[in-house]
Amino acid sequence: MLSYIARRLAIAIPTLILVSIFVFVLQKLLPGDPALVLAGEERDPQMLEFIREKYRLNDPIIYQYVYWMKAMLQGDLGVSLRTNQPVLELIGDKLPVTIQLATMAMIIAFVIGIPTGILSAVKKGTAIDYIANIVALSGLSIPNFWLGIMLILLVSVNLGWLPASGYESPFVDLGRSLKTMIMPAFVLGTALAATLMRHTRSAMLGVLKADYVRTARAKGLNETIVIIKHAFRNALLPIVTLSALLFGELLAGAVLTEQIFTIPGFGKLIVDAVFTRDYAVVQGVVMCTAAGFILMNLIADVLYFLLNPRMRASL
């Protein structure tokens, strides 16, 4: 098991190097001159030259890449060109926010998606199944930004129940933190719930046809136990993979949702950075989310082992 994890981590290194090259090159291919954006409205030529020198924008791209890699290996991701703040510190600020949002969204997605998926598989072809499918389809089709604004107008402006936007750290004020996060988490969660529901349903439908389910029923087992213990546990594998990938995606930042609810997470950070050509921040965040994605994949594979005795035996 450990050697498997070690092997997977070793494979991750070339992946990360590839990612780093991609980010770097793609970014340099973007039209627009960061010095022009950074110099301010006046674009003083002296200032432009100073910025190009300071951030080594005049050097060949290979050199720039090597400088960046060298610093990164020493744990230095550089400073934000826009605010002079160290990128590592920025990531440290934003990561907890994004993790909190992602976790809350996943919980909401699980709570809604999995039970409806099971229910609609068990009640296949009935009204319940159709309703669940229609709701899931709506969840997938309704754009996040629209649902977000509608929720703000209804819940915050008309009903006055929750703050319209903003963020509070759970360690400062847990109540307010949950209150500011619940709407964005709901918006993200419902969209994910729809995906989860569809996958749970199809996985369950496959499993419910299996011989061992028929056997369990024939034994006279309680239907709930058949569904939960025999069917659902076996249907879990694709759901685990999917969840890990969805969670990894959430960690990369939910750009639109964060923008609407003004959540200072990764999504907002990276979008603002791209628009201001804040190279150091874009590179740092992309590397960080790439690493997070790889990690989530690894966790999904490890969970496979824990959940599936056959795979454990194969090692």
Binding site: P31, G32, V37, E42, R82, A164, K179, T262, F275
Partner: protein
């Protein structure tokens, strides 16, 4: 059981809703400011925060008169080469450092000499600063500079604690120390900037809030929803399309001021090979283009009439506006005739536009109006950083251009219209205009300056290197519980005398 638990959780969550404390003020900003160091920063939105954080040597009235702030009085020598300023007694920086002549000297030195300073061009006329008394400074200038005082009403005049700048250098922005009515508490990027009242402020009696929080909320709908729900007390830059609904809401107040800036179309006249085309070469064609536009209709259609139509770098409300050249009424026939005179029945023109919905809509209106006079306008929608790069490099035929505006008229015209102007993207170069604009910046007599600007206007209105379209209006929305807010054309939020009813 679980259901009960969930219900209990929800219930307890809904009871912890905390109303904002009476003496707290929460202000919604359109963007997140950049670095909070007046010498290094470059964004408009950052200046809104400075208005509460950093006092300046001088301030402006809503009518753009210069008035004392940290300087209590000033006088020019007859040759215009020496400016003597008396400084306020009893002003202190947030760290306890007293404000005095030495502090002013240190600040000018930093603006002029720190490599990262973005203020260099604003204070470059200063040859030296001498401390002529504990509370008096003398600025010796290299050449007469009428614009200097107005620069002191903005970031160049913001006084930073010399103790702090000496200690942290370029990292000043992480915890700025100034002498304004509020002092810095914390900043979480893209989330909030928190300031608290500075008890020793020289004008503390006019300040009625213990804490001010600035929250960047880029989405205009969400920003307004926050004021409606009571999460914000005030917002800046309301979308013009929301003006009607705010005015109709008894819980909200609507405040506006025509800005000092402008929006228009810059034409590549001589900026590289791309400027070599009929539109760039023949002023008559640009006149035809300008005549084909109904500026008032643009304002009505795109901005619900909330902005101010314009045809000069100064808004019609400005004392610097040249009344001899009012906005011309749309005249399609005359435009066609001019185009014909230049040898064309129809002409293709490519106009760059930033890819945001409002600007795109505005240019689409321009496109359809110009079409009637024979212009086939092709809109090239671009992301802003790319647009800026192309414009600066001369890789364009015509391009949307905007300027946030300066208190002194020089800032709206000199650098755009002189041959060597730093932001002269059209690369227009008319020696006569250069001469007039150079002369206008050295005289301290406003009547003389106005005459020079008018003379330059007479030439430029025919050349049209920039086709001015309109002047945005700053729109603030305030909760009806607030009173005492005064709108300023510089778009700043001055909290003196603002209080809860």
């Amino acid at each position: 059981m679980r259901k009960k638990l969930l219900a209990a959780l929800l219930l307890s969550a809904s009871t912890i809703i905390t109303p904002a404390l009476a003496a707290d003020l929460r202000i919604g900003l359109q963007e997140d400011p950049d670095v909070l160091d007046p010498d290094q920063s470059r964004t408009f939105v950052g200046r809104i925060v400075y208005a509460s954080l950093c006092d300046k040597l001088v301030d402006i009235t809503p009518d753009l008169e210069l008035i004392p702030q940290l300087a209590t009085g000033w006088s020019w020598s007859d040759d215009g080469l020496t400016l003597t300023m008396d400084l306020r007694e009893g002003a202190t920086f947030h760290d306890g450092t007293p404000f005095d002549a030495e502090a002013v000297k240190a600040n000018i030195d930093r603006s002029q000499n720190m490599p990262e300073s973005r203020r260099k061009s604003e204070v470059k006329s200063i040859e030296s600063v001498s401390v002529t008394g504990p509370l008096q400074v003398q600025f010796k200038l290299k050449n007469p500079d009428a614009t200097l005082l107005a620069q002191f009403a903005d970031r160049s005049g913001m006084m930073l604690s010399p103790t702090a700048t000496a200690a942290v250098g370029t990292d000043f922005g992480a915890a700025p120390v100034c002498s304004g009515p509020f002092k810095f508490v914390e900043r979480i990027q893209q989330d909030r900037i928190v300031l608290e009242k500075f008890a020793e402020y020289w004008n503390a009696d006019a300040i009625h809030f213990d804490k001010v929080t600035f929250l960047p909320i880029p989405d205009t709908t969400v920003r307004l929803a926050n004021v409606r729900s009571g999460d914000l007390d005030m917002l800046e830059r309301l979308a013009a399309t929301d003006a009607a609904s705010v005015k109709a809401d008894a819980n909200l107040q609507y405040e506006e001021a025509v800005s000092l800036g402008y929006q228009g179309i810059t034409v590549n006249v001589n900026n590289g090979p791309k400027g070599d085309n009929p539109f760039g070469n023949d002023a008559k064609i640009r006149q035809a283009f300008s005549l084909s536009l109904d500026r008032d209709a643009i304002n009505q259609v795109v901005f619900e009439g909330a902005f101010a139509p314009g045809n000069q770098p100064f808004p019609p409300t400005s004392p610097w506006y040249d009344k001899d050249y009012p906005i011309e009424a749309r005249d399609v026939e005359k435009a066609k005739a001019l185009l014909k005179e230049a040898g064309y029945d129809s002409l293709d023109v490519e106009v760059q536009v930033a890819n945001n919905p409002v600007q795109t809509q505005m240019m689409q209106v321009v496109q359809s109006m110009a079409a009637e006079a024979g212009f086939n306008v092709k809109l090239k929608s671009m992301e802003f950083a790319s647009l800026l790069a192309d414009q600066s490099a001369g890789e364009y035929q015509a391009s949307q251009v905007g300027w946030s505006g300066r208190v002194d008229p020089d800032g709206n015209i000199h650098q755009f219209m002189t041959c060597k102007g730093g932001i002269n993207d059209s690369k227009v170069c008319i020696p006569e205009v250069d001469k007039l604009l150079d002369e206008a910046r050295v005289s301290t007599d406003n009547a003389v300056r106005k005459a020079k600007y008018d003379e330059a206007r007479a030439i430029l209105i025919k050349e049209l290197p920039i086709i001015y379209l309109y002047h945005p209006t700053w729109i603030w929305t305030l909760s009806s519980k607030l009173e005492g807010f005064t709108p300023y054309p510089d778009g700043m939020i001055r909290l003196e005398n603002v209080k809860l009813k």
